[in-house]
């Protein structure tokens, strides 16, 4: 597999229309009802999910994409993220691009979406998908594995940075995302949000290993403030060195110094199980 390329056109569903109206359940981490996105005219691969909402509060979310008739939907992808305050949202953050597209859309079979939040808000979301019809022309790696999330249908874990009074860039403590992976996994995206109004540079580590013996296997450097889009970073080259049974954790360090003090951070991951 060299670099990915394709001359197959990417399309949207729904096309030339607002995304499907998806309503949260009103109960934290309970899925809302499935809403129909549309029906592809050919077997297709799922390349991305676009979403937006007018809820101005802060919320962690998971969106399921499912296929099948009403009442018999099968989840083919789950993505997660966070946003707070629409005034800070950028549009790329509103599109989740699968580094490894999911080969799960079937000609003539309904595609639907549902959402669950960590809050009880019921403001509607608009959700649409991007896809490419098969047969694909080009060199594209796909999978039939669904994307999944750590944590799953629960609050992102609280993660502290190095703490007030410590020098900037002091590591915070590792926070567990998964006690033991159920299979070899490939991480396709990372999310982090911070409860702080101070704009700050940060580094986010993903680590594996038992508590107290974590080894950092990946580091994302970025800049963040609390108001904004979902802070999701898909990995063009997914991270593929986490074997079954691994404990997965994350930690953060930042350029926060007095008088801003430490902040509360909340990380999450999106992954696929192997074999892809």
């Amino acid at each position: 597999m060299a670099a990915k390329w394709s001359t197959t056109r990417q399309k949207s569903l729904p096309a030339a229309a607002n995304g499907a109206t998806v309503t949260p359940s009103g109960t934290a981490w309970v899925s809302g009802a499935w809403a129909t996105i549309g029906t592809p005219a050919a077997d297709s691969i799922l390349t991305g999910v676009t979403y937006r909402t007018l809820n101005d509060g802060y919320q962690e979310f998971e969106i399921d994409i499912g296929v099948g008739g009403a009442g018999s939907e099968t989840v083919v992808a789950t993505i997660n993220g966070y946003f707070r305050a629409i005034s800070g949202c950028s549009n790329d953050g509103m599109f989740f691009r699968f580094p490894i597209p999911i080969d799960a859309l079937v000609s003539g079979v309904r595609v639907a979406a549902r959402i669950r939040l960590h809050v009880t808000d019921v403001t509607v979301w608009n959700v649409s998908i991007a896809y490419q019809e098969k047969p694909l022309v080009g060199s594209v790696q796909t999978t039939t594995q669904p994307s999944r999330t750590y944590p799953s249908a629960s609050n992102f874990p609280l993660m502290a940075d190095g703490g007030s009074g410590n020098p900037a860039w002091t590591n915070g403590a590792w926070v567990q995302l998964a006690a033991a992976t159920s299979a070899d996994i490939v991480i396709i995206a990372a999310t982090v949000w911070v409860f702080s109004g101070h704009v700050q540079d940060f580094e986010l580590d993903i680590g594996t290993g038992a508590a107290g013996f974590e080894t950092a296997i990946w580091t994302l450097k970025g800049n963040i403030v609390q108001n904004g889009a979902p802070f999701v970073t898909p990995f063009p080259n997914p991270l593929d060195n986490i074997v079954a049974g691994s404990r997965v954790s994350m930690r953060v360090r930042a350029d926060v110094t007095f008088p801003y003090g430490s902040a509360d951070w909340y990380p999450a991951l999106c992954y696929m199980e192997k074999p892809l």
Binding site: K4, S6, S12, G48, M94, V137, V140, T219, K221, N237
Partner: protein, 386 residues
């Protein structure tokens, strides 16, 4: 080897604040090169992307050039064009390249320089792999159109989800390019939006892909761009145009710039023969095929081979077939079948209705400059009674 990697992504400066990369002032003037990494520590380092740090900017179109080499002798290896609505916003601050850049010598200094439509304060960090075990890499430059100029203004139609007119993003060059995505502004809150990209002369555009995005707040967020799921190669001399359609009736203009590779050779399988530009005729003559000289009726002959390895998007590598039923003294006319354009890996090389023979010899020949791999031939043949 695959798209995935076991390699660790790293930020530079490590455990330190992002570094100021100043522009040269309003109007797309380059600032000075700024060291992001003093020296790579492996011969397999790969540049993964750029992270914007703290800064002060608003509605900024900017280009960040990535260079390799000592101070004063930096060599441009890639360019990232971005739209930065508001430095004070949260959100996405990272641009990961669709394909990491390799070919960087051990001990290389990595530097950035920047220019912008409007001057502003921007800090940056480098994201890289200190050794990358994926073969989804390139040594080719990412670039943008327009380059060193303001993005193309696209005025929406006043009707919801009605297409705007087409606007030319790229006038075409004499070689293939590969589209990566868009860097765009959005002046309208709470909308879904679709961008069609097309090739073809004005008034004869053909849509080649669609990028969908959404905007919750105009001119908010740290970085705006939208990427394709994989790069999209286009034929040489392709004019690239964009149109958009969206929620609502606002006709306030959007700006759009194209992100692309100016060289697509890294997307093809290299021709494993010295002198790749020359056509070399390759011929394979089969053994005699007969069954006690009785009639054989040839329904088809399928060549089991690797297909879809053309070096350009427009070439049709051809497999030629002829046969002799008299021991090679005389031959049939030549038949031809395409072995698939680039990426058509499922193309079948299947010759049908090949007549009858008592003693046949097939001759297969190819000459297009692309990799050729033949595995076997499968005949559907029926024996006669005399």
């Amino acid at each position: 080897m695959s798209l995935q990697t076991t390699s660790k992504l790293i930020g530079a400066p490590a455990a330190g604040a992002s570094i100021t990369v100043a522009d040269g002032g309003n109007g797309w003037v380059w600032g000075s090169w700024v060291t992001m990494l003093a020296a790579t520590t492996t011969a397999t380092a790969a540049i993964a992307g750029i992270a914007l740090g703290e800064g002060t900017y608003s509605t900024m179109q900017t280009e960040i050039q990535i260079g390799v080499g000592g101070a004063g002798s930096e060599v441009d290896i890639s360019l990232v064009r971005l739209y930065g609505p508001n430095s004070g916003s949260g959100s996405h601050s990272v641009f990961l390249l669709p394909i990491p850049i390799t070919g960087i010598a051990l001990g290389s200094r990595i530097a950035f320089r920047r220019r912008a439509s409007l001057t502003g304060s921007v800090t940056c960090a480098l994201l890289y792999f200190d050794g990358l075990d994926s073969d989804a890499v390139t040594t080719k430059k990412l670039t943008a159109a327009p380059l060193g100029a303001n993005a193309v203004s696209v005025t929406p139609n006043a009707g919801a989800w009605v297409n705007s007119t087409w606007n030319v993003l790229f006038a075409g060059v004499a070689h293939e390019i590969a589209i990566v995505g868009l860097a765009m502004s959005n002046p309208v809150p709470n909308i879904d939006i679709e961008y069609d990209l097309a090739t073809g002369a004005p008034a004869a555009e053909t849509v080649v892909t669609t990028i969908r995005s959404a905007c919750m707040q105009e001119n908010a967020g740290k970085l705006w761009f939208a990427m394709l799921p994989e790069v999209l190669p286009l034929e040489a001399s392709s004019i690239v145009s964009v149109r958009l359609r969206k929620t609502g009736t606002s006709t306030t203009a959007h700006t759009v710039a194209l992100l692309y590779y100016d060289d697509t050779t890294f997307l093809t399988t290299p021709v494993p023969t010295p002198g790749t530009a020359r056509d070399i005729r390759r011929v394979r003559v089969f053994s005699h095929i007969s069954d006690v000289q009785e009639w054989l009726f040839w329904k088809s002959l399928q060549i089991d081979m690797e297909t879809g390895t053309a070096q350009t998007l427009t070439s049709d590598p051809t497999v030629w077939l002829r046969y002799s039923d008299d021991g090679g003294h005389t031959w049939s006319h030549l038949r031809s079948i395409t072995a698939g354009r680039r990426g058509q890996y499922a193309a079948r090389v299947l010759f049908r209705q090949l007549g009858r023979s008592r003693d046949r010899v097939y001759e297969l020949s190819v000459s297009d400059p692309c990799p050729w791999t033949f595995l076997r031939a499968i005949a559907d043949v029926e024996k006669g009674i005399s």
